[in-house]
């Protein structure tokens, strides 16, 4: 018997060598090995002691273990590595392998029942520009028609942000100080997390994967679900690891190759679209988006009723019996009110007991009014129709009667003069935005911002957010000839209507020009839209410095979005410096990729 088994092993080993399987793309996908070293740091994932750096040794060890499995339960190699087994059986025609009973894996397969999958992207939420970098995970759909019953496979750093301070957290995240772990949860839990708690719209991108491919994805998920790897925020992060899963299901799509040095989550969806791996898109509005839709249907008086009912300041019975109001308005008011009660509870403004009582009362009243009209929630522009993260900028113009050219590069991500198709309006986040100018015999760094975040969140009937702006880095917009390091912070308010938005901010800043100089100022801005592709930005700033000088700045630009990743603009900038003025008129060409 043992002679027969070992002969088998050698046959398979030789055939695998003949077919050069250890060099094959798929074996490397299964090992998460981009070239010579696996990204999985857990030794338990490898059967050979050198398996993490030696694909051949790991292949041999896997073949031997599959043939010689002595343990036949969940701990069998075949049960721990079902994706490897499935592939090797196919490639090598392996027969008469030991019969194993994979109880845990079979239970998972039965419950998840994988048929199809989507990449899910929760978009930015209000007043958090950093969230536009976002997160992606895969939703695994089952035989159920309802997507709520799908499962979400999610990869995250295993860190407790409540016990670690932000800076430690950031540095550890960068250098790989946390383990990354997979989790599998019902999709309705993720909906609650993003749609309800974080108020983020959810976009779902259906992947072109069939049932057989999905089964292989789940087999592979099982192989890695209990392993650990160091988590790197910018490379081996949540979104990047989803690419391995997709490639394990369908090796003909090449997604990882789109990324060399950083993986910004939404960029993984752009890559999937480029590979033709996305077949359909769906939008799932956040609670906030739903409430904004109610706003459109309610007048000021009705908005007051929403709040009064949500806070038990108005008697529900009296409200229901009010003959002045039509039934549909009453329905909308009660519906919006129930959302607000939840909002108050999530914000910690009311206790669970108060929440339950108020919700129960309002919903009882609402149910008595019959079906009514569904609220129509407008679908925003798909984030995947937005421009890509990296911007190259070339500009030509005139500054004080002299010709001047500019070159700029910005690794990420978006500013408020860029086209905001696919982005949350009034939201900006820039890292290391560089702009160089070349005039007559004069080369200058115009701008080298480290980070520049803007959140202009409009005030609505329901929501009263504060707008703010933070900027630190080097620029030339101060009372000095040269480029100086500056930091400023602004806070204020934003209002919007159908044609655009306006903002008023108070500003505090400092910069170093031999001595530390501080200033305060006021900013007023206006952004107007002319259809999808045109927008106008106007901004005026008045500052007073502790040195006694004051300064006026003004900028105006007209932007035209020519294509998803190509824009042109024409701009005028005025900067007052002591008794001099700088006027710059320029034409800009931006290319995103």
């Amino acid at each position: 018997m043992s002679i027969l088994v070992s002969a088998n092993v050698d046959d398979y080993l030789n055939l695998a060598k003949e077919k050069n399987l250890s060099d094959s793309r798929y074996w490397h996908i299964l090992l998460h090995m981009p070239s010579d070293e696996s990204e999985i740091d857990d030794k338990a994932f490898f059967l050979s002691p050198d398996g993490n750096i030696d694909a051949q040794a790991e292949l041999d060890a896997t073949i031997e273990a599959l043939v010689n499995d002595r343990v036949l339960d969940d701990n069998a190699t075949a049960c721990k590595f079902p994706a490897r087994k499935w592939w090797l059986v196919k490639e090598l025609g392996m027969k008469n392998l030991p019969e194993v009973k994979c109880k845990a894996f079979d239970t998972l397969m039965k419950k998840v029942d994988p048929k199809a999958a989507s990449l899910v992207f929760p978009s930015a939420y209000i007043n958090s520009p950093a969230s536009m970098f976002g997160h992606t995970f895969i939703r695994i759909d089952s035989s159920y028609k309802s997507k709520m019953l799908s499962y979400a496979i999610n990869y995250a750093a295993n860190a407790d942000s409540s016990t670690e301070n932000g800076m430690v957290f950031a540095i550890k995240g960068l250098v790989g100080g946390y383990y990354g772990n997979y989790s599998l949860l019902p999709y309705y839990e993720k909906i609650k997390e993003y749609r309800d708690s974080e108020e983020r719209d959810i976009w779902e991108y259906d992947l072109d994967l069939n049932e057989e491919q999905m089964q292989q994805m789940l087999r592979h998920i099982w192989e890695i679900h209990d392993t650990y790897s160091w988590y790197y925020f910018f490379t081996e992060n949540c979104s990047y690891n989803m690419l391995w899963l997709i490639e394990a299901a369908k090796p003909t799509v090449h997604l990882r190759e789109y990324f060399n040095y950083q993986v910004i989550p939404p960029e993984t969806i752009h890559a999937a679209i480029s590979e033709g791996a996305i077949i359909q898109r769906h939008y799932r509005p956040a609670r906030r988006s739903k409430l904004l839709a109610y706003e459109d249907h309610l007048n000021d008086n009705e908005i007051k009723k929403v709040f009064a009912l949500a806070k038990e300041e108005e008697d529900i019975q009296t409200f229901l019996e009010d003959k002045e109001k039509d039934t549909q308005s009453k329905r909308y008011i009660l519906e919006a009110s129930s959302e607000f009660i939840e909002y108050d509870f999530l914000a910690g403004d009311i206790s669970a007991d108060v929440y339950r009582k108020r919700l129960h009362d309002i919903l009882g009243a609402r149910s008595s009014l019959g079906k009514g009209e569904k609220i129509d929630i407008p679908i925003p522009k798909d984030p995947m129709n937005g421009h890509r993260a990296l911007r190259l900028r070339t500009e030509a113009g005139v500054r004080d009667d002299e010709a001047i050219g500019f070159l700029g590069v910005r690794p990420a991500n978006h500013d408020i003069t860029d086209s905001d198709v696919g982005f949350l309006r009034g939201t900006q986040i820039e890292f290391f935005n560089f702009l160089f100018s070349y005039g007559e015999n004069d080369f200058n760094v115009e701008e080298a911002s480290v980070i520049n975040i803007v959140s202009l969140a409009p005030r609505t009937k329901f929501f009263k957010p504060i707008s703010w702006r933070l900027n630190t880095g080097w620029d030339r917009n101060y009372l000095s000839e040269s480029t100086k390091f500056t930091s400023n912070a602004s806070v204020g308010l934003t209002w919007e209507n159908d044609i655009g938005y306006m903002y008023l901010l108070a500003d505090a800043l400092f910069y170093t020009d031999r001595d530390l100089t501080a200033g305060i100022g006021g900013i007023a801005g206006l952004v107007g839209y002319q259809g999808r592709d045109f927008k106008t930005n106007l901004e005026v700033t008045q500052r007073i410095f502790d040195t006694g000088y004051d300064q006026l700045l003004f900028s105006a630009s007209q932007h035209y979005r020519h294509a998803q990743n190509i824009s042109f603009s024409l701009s005028y900038d005025y900067v007052q410096k002591f008794d001099e003025d700088w006027d710059t008129v320029k034409f800009t060409f931006d290319y995103f990729f």
């Binding site: 998972l108 998840v112 950093a130 949860l185 609650k192 708690s197």
Partner: protein, 146 residues
């Protein structure tokens, strides 16, 4: 090198992007949604929740109803899990008379006519959600009695 530069560029963002701590408040009754931990308003404004760093997430295919009162009439594990986790959303949708959660429940209970199901639930809201303290088991059993 490229990698390093980009990484450094984003340090600043991350330090401000204190990822949201989220406490999952699971239960069997109303109020089982995920509560945001907004201990600091400033951090809240800046946080990214980029990667949803939740230490408490599991590879969970096990039942989330172990701590709940048992149903008397409805024996359907998936339906129990679903209702326990979606008590609030379901209450809202039943009151309004339509919605994805109601459709999902219809599918789980193998109800053919979803429209009629949603209408029946709406007109019986007060006998399903009989009080503010109802639990999953009450809701499912009450629905089965309609």
């Amino acid at each position: 090198m490229k990698k390093l530069i980009v990484s450094i560029a984003a340090v600043a963002a991350l330090s401000s992007a204190a990822f949201a701590g989220v406490n999952s408040q699971t239960g069997c009754g109303l109020g089982s949604m995920i509560i945001k931990d907004d201990s600091s308003a400033v951090l809240l404004a800046l946080q990214a929740t980029t990667n949803g760093t939740l230490g408490n997430q599991t590879f969970g295919i096990t039942s989330g109803t172990s701590g709940c009162k048992k149903t008397k009439f409805v024996m359907n594990e998936r339906a129990e899990e679903f209702v326990a986790s979606n008590m609030d959303q379901l209450a809202k949708e039943i009151a309004v008379g339509h919605g994805e959660s109601v459709d999902t429940l219809a599918e789980l209970l193998i109800v053919e006519d979803k429209e009629a199901f949603a209408s029946a639930l709406q007109s019986n809201y007060n006998s399903i959600y009989t009080s503010q303290n109802v639990e999953m088991a009450d809701v499912l059993d009450n629905i089965s009695a309609i």
